[in-house]
């Protein structure tokens, strides 16, 4: 058994504990902060302490260390540190803050309407994410990014279509709900360097963000990333680290922050989204035109909302040949907690919409949904809507695997399908080093372990390349002082990118005498945010899912009897790990499909706990849950950490639709299903009259 030290366990001598003073109003200027009731033996970080510091943010620099104005209920306006966690919390409650309330907006469509209150009237100046997409804010609005994609002439495409369907779909906000909450320790060394030990998937992004906010050279910041007890996107970019660093500096000692479950719900969630799909086809089902309009609610700060909106936009095109495509995807500020990376990263929301729309189209064409998809799937050598030529394409096999798993072709009733494509972070860079030790090797990389198994994956790949046992390879925690640069541990890229960098490093080691090797891989590309043309991904995640459902017609309760996902793996590195990724993705997809929704009233989250917010339990796993990792001899490794999540909601939604129960909003709660059943029966009764 291996003892794991999480960030929460990183106790340092003389360390104090942090607690946060959070805004009770959704939008308001801080008028005054009263610290007269603060107990002795604690330190408070106040607006005047941070006013001169820089802004931060991974794609738009729209965040300050302490918020003013507060832009959501839970925004951090001050912080305290004290010798124990409970004393820190008591001290935080003793801080009195007066707010001058401002108008607030909680819905992305309302936020883009004329006259909506503006969250960041000053923003829109600079796009900062060097390794990602260009960011296109619309100045003077709440739109922090607009992504557009044009291919062909969509209006003439619709004019030429025999059948056009249009529908608007919604996806609720969700919590990552990792077992381990956010935990961060910061300390300042005697020579003035900042050392942060934190649960993060993005140590180098974090280092640069902290350096920018605190006015330090990046090399003066060290980020150590111990394994995380789950993350799913929650622990990306700068979360608590800047505040904890400032508290530690003011306290003159190390400070740790560990969130409680309720605070997780105001730290980072998944983008709720509205996606309108319009799709047209010829009578034989050949797709002609598709238009996608997306509103991704990114909450009070952009975080990676621009990236999410972009991916939502192009993933919503789907793995199909469509001559005329237009996408308009907006990331929109609202006065809700920030939304960011979440397993599925934008694809979840638009795959739900676009693949439900495919079944609506099939119904209108009186055609099998399987046949409609088959007829239009991208094949090797086809051009995607972004202009890039697709290679190593396996959508048809994924779809067939899904259909076969539920005997779709024997009887499609109560069954549904979904097929998807999902891109990987492009461009990006991954570097790795290998050193020989007396007992084996040390492999250093900044790929972060969050339970997905990257350390095992690197050990297994390293052992195969180096001709040793996996147990002879040590993989230390990522550390920006000693790990080579990596863009980040996101978008299911690590086994693929680091694996290739590792092969490069081993070649270097062998060429250089066997003691030390360094490898680096870069994938080039990126999309023009104004045209959607370019290279969306150098490596496509391809998958499909099928579901078979039973519905209690009196209560609307849905039982998923069979659920199957097929994922193109190319070549499996760690079979047990890959299987767990698929199963975990499917179960999270089940939660998104049927259960999970963050609710709010006047901007206050009303179900910020795991009793009122419902995640799937073991008893909710379908009696028959299967998956397939599709491999090809000699194929490249393919990332698969998320692929089986986004297709699950649409597979279930399409299974319900096959019973006449059409839903456009996630989650498909029993109540919504019952309403749809009643609508179906009313319609049938109307038709009978």
């Amino acid at each position: 058994m291996r003892l794991v030290h999480y960030s929460q366990d990183a106790g340092l001598d003389g360390m104090w504990h942090a607690a946060f003073v959070r805004s009770p109003v959704p939008h308001g200027r801080v008028c005054s902060v009263d610290v007269s009731a603060l107990p002795p033996d604690c330190v408070a970080l106040l607006p005047q302490d941070t006013a001169a510091l820089g802004r931060y943010g991974c794609q738009l620099k729209d965040q300050r260390v302490l918020a003013d104005p507060a832009r959501f209920v839970g925004d951090i306006v001050a912080a305290v540190a004290a010798p124990t966690r409970s004393r820190a919390r008591a001290a935080a409650q003793a801080v009195g803050v007066d707010f001058d309330e401002l108008p607030a907006v909680f819905d992305p469509l309302a936020a883009v309407a004329e006259g909506a209150p503006l969250l960041h009237p000053e923003s829109g100046a600079s796009a900062q994410d060097k390794v990602s997409i260009g960011v296109r804010p619309l100045p003077g609005t709440n739109v922090c990014h607009r992504f557009r994609l044009f291919n062909g002439d969509v209006e003439s495409g619709f004019a030429a279509s025999a059948v056009v369907v249009e529908e608007t779909f919604r996806t609720a906000s969700a919590q990552h709900a990792p077992m381990e909450p956010h935990a961060t320790v910061a300390r300042w060394t005697e020579d003035g360097r900042l050392e942060v030990t934190t649960g993060t998937q993005t140590p180098f992004n974090l280092r640069d963000d902290l350096a920018g906010a605190l006015g330090l050279e990046p090399e003066r910041v060290r980020v150590i990333a111990p394994p995380m007890g789950g993350s799913f996107g929650a622990k990306t970019f700068t979360r608590l680290e800047a505040i904890v660093a400032c508290l530690a500096r003011k306290a003159g000692r190390p400070v740790q922050a560990v969130l409680d479950r309720g605070e997780e719900f105001v730290t980072l969630n998944r983008h709720p989204a509205v996606v309108r799909v319009r799709i047209g086809a010829e009578p034989d089902g050949t797709l002609v035109a598709k238009q996608l309009d997306c509103w991704a609610d990114t909450g009070a700060y952009a975080d990676c909302g621009p990236g999410v909106a972009t991916k939502m936009g192009y993933a919503g095109v789907g793995p199909y040949r469509i001559p005329h495509v237009r996408v308009d995807a907006l990331a929109v500020y609202t006065n809700l907690p920030p939304n960011g990376a979440f397993r599925g990263y934008g694809a979840t929301q638009s795959v739900w919409a676009s693949e439900r729309a495919m079944d609506l189209l099939a119904e209108r064409l009186d055609m099998s949904p399987l046949e409609l998809r088959r007829r239009n799937l991208l094949r090797d050598g086809d051009r995607f809507a972004t202009g890039e030529v697709m290679r190593d394409v396996h959508f048809e096999e994924c779809l067939q695997s899904a259909a076969d798993a539920v005997d779709y072709e024997d009887d499609p009733r109560g069954k549904g399908l979904c097929v998807l494509l999902k891109g990987m972070q492009t461009p990006s860079r991954a570097a790795i080093s290998v050193e020989r030790t007396p007992v084996g090797y040390v492999i250093r990389s900044a790929s972060c372990e969050m339970g997905q198994g990257i350390r095992d994956s690197l050990r297994l790949q390293g052992a195969a390349l180096l001709g040793c046992e996996p147990g002879q390879i040590e993989v230390p925690d990522p550390d920006t002082d000693s790990s080579p640069f990596d863009t980040r541990t996101t978008s299911s890229r690590s086994t693929y990118m680091m694996g290739r960098a590792l092969a490069d490093a081993v070649r270097d080691l062998e060429a250089g005498g066997g003691e030390r090797g360094y490898g680096e891989i870069a994938n080039e590309g990126g999309l023009d945010p104004d045209t959607g043309q370019g290279i969306a991904s150098t490596h496509w995640h391809q998958g499909a899912a099928a579901a078979q459902v039973r519905v209690d017609e009196d209560t609307g309760r849905v039982t998923v009897e069979r659920l199957h996902a097929a994922v193109y793996a190319g070549r499996v590195v760690d079979r047990a790990g890959a299987e767990l990724q698929n199963e975990g993705s499917m179960i999270m997809g089940l939660g998104t499909a049927l259960l999970e929704s963050i609710e709010h009233a006047d901007g206050q989250i009303t179900n910020a706990n795991l009793s009122d917010y419902s995640v799937p339990a073991l008893g909710d796993v379908p009696a028959e849950m299967t998956h397939e990792l599709i491999e090809r001899d000699g194929a490249e490794v393919h990332g698969l950490g998320e692929t089986a999540l986004p297709p699950v909601p649409a597979a279930i939604g399409n299974a319900l639709a096959s019973l006449g129960v059409g839903l456009a909003e996630l989650p498909m709660t029993a109540e919504r299903v019952l309403e749809a059943l009643e609508a179906r029966d009313r319609q049938a009764a109307g038709a009978a009259v």
Binding site: N609, S611, T669, A670, E671
Partner: protein, 273 residues
């Protein structure tokens, strides 16, 4: 800081209760208080723990009556041979609460004294005609579930009293508990229906839909003259649905609950036919 009182005997506990009254919050398994405290809804000055009092967790049958000690856990009730044999519906209802981890901790006394509208046991205990024993230094009294639970998280337990036991009369011929979950399998009920049919006729109690368990004796009396059949079951379901004013929460709106009450009461009564 919260003070911690952990008496070794019931007498001592009753003395502390008389002395401290409402200022000391009674703690049994802690599954409910723990959530309230974690969320900051409750910051007790003092906790009065019953965990060290011996013999409060007994499960026994005396003269055909089941006696559940206040500190008996849900899991113990679910697994008790005596309960499974004599009151299988009760064993089943307790087995449907949350997850084994919660059931190993949550107690019979705790769930009744919390009077949380969304718990499983109150409805089934009400339908079985159970009474809870409230003891104080002044003496002892037994009240029915309908008298115990007076509103959302409100009971008739006096400031110097402790709920020490739940007494369940001999089980009637047929009984059923239906837990309808609108969300996860480990969720609390959206609608809970307990129905029993014995010498005294039909009793149907609907839980988790309003501030306290709902029973409509006039509607149940429809079954006095004829054996419940499918038509009568549907009629009883309809009347329960019309007669109850359900509430809305994250498990379902009031309107949705009305529809589910009709279906689930019908199904429960059908199961007794």
């Amino acid at each position: 800081m919260t003070a911690w009182l952990a008496p070794d005997s019931l007498e001592e506990a009753l003395d502390l209760r008389a002395e401290r009254g409402a200022e000391a919050t009674v703690l049994a398994g802690g599954t409910f208080l723990g959530i309230l405290m974690n969320q900051g809804f409750l910051v007790p000055d003092t906790l009065l723990s019953l965990g060290r009092i011996p013999a409060l967790d007994g499960i026994e049958v005396v003269d055909g009556e089941l006696r559940l000690g206040a500190m008996a856990t849900h899991r113990a009730v679910e697994r008790s041979a005596a309960v499974r044999e004599g009151w299988p519906v009760l064993a089943r209802a307790f087995s449907l609460v949350a997850s084994p981890r919660v059931r190993n901790q949550a107690t019979v006394g705790g769930v009744m004294a919390d009077a949380d509208y969304a718990s499983d046991p109150p409805a089934v205990l009400a339908a079985l005609g159970a009474r809870v024993v409230l003891r104080s230094a002044r003496g002892e009294r037994a009240v029915g579930v309908g008298d115990l639970i007076q509103g959302y998280y409100e009971t008739c337990i006096a400031e110097d009293e402790l709920l020490v036991q739940v007494r369940v009369p001999p089980s009637p011929g047929r009984a059923v508990y239906r837990k309808f979950r609108s969300r996860s399998s480990e969720d609390r009920p959206c609608v809970a229906v307990a129905a029993v049919r014995g010498a005294a006729g039909l009793r149907v109690v609907v839980g988790a839909v309003a501030e306290r368990p709902q029973e409509l004796p006039d509607v149940c009396a429809l079954a006095d003259t004829s054996l419940p059949d499918f038509e009568l079951a549907a009629e009883i379901g309809r009347r329960y649905s019309e007669g109850i004013e359900p509430m809305s929460d994250s498990r379902g709106s009031a309107g949705y609950r009305r529809k589910v009450i009709a279906a689930e009461v019908r199904r429960a009564v059908e199961a007794l036919a």
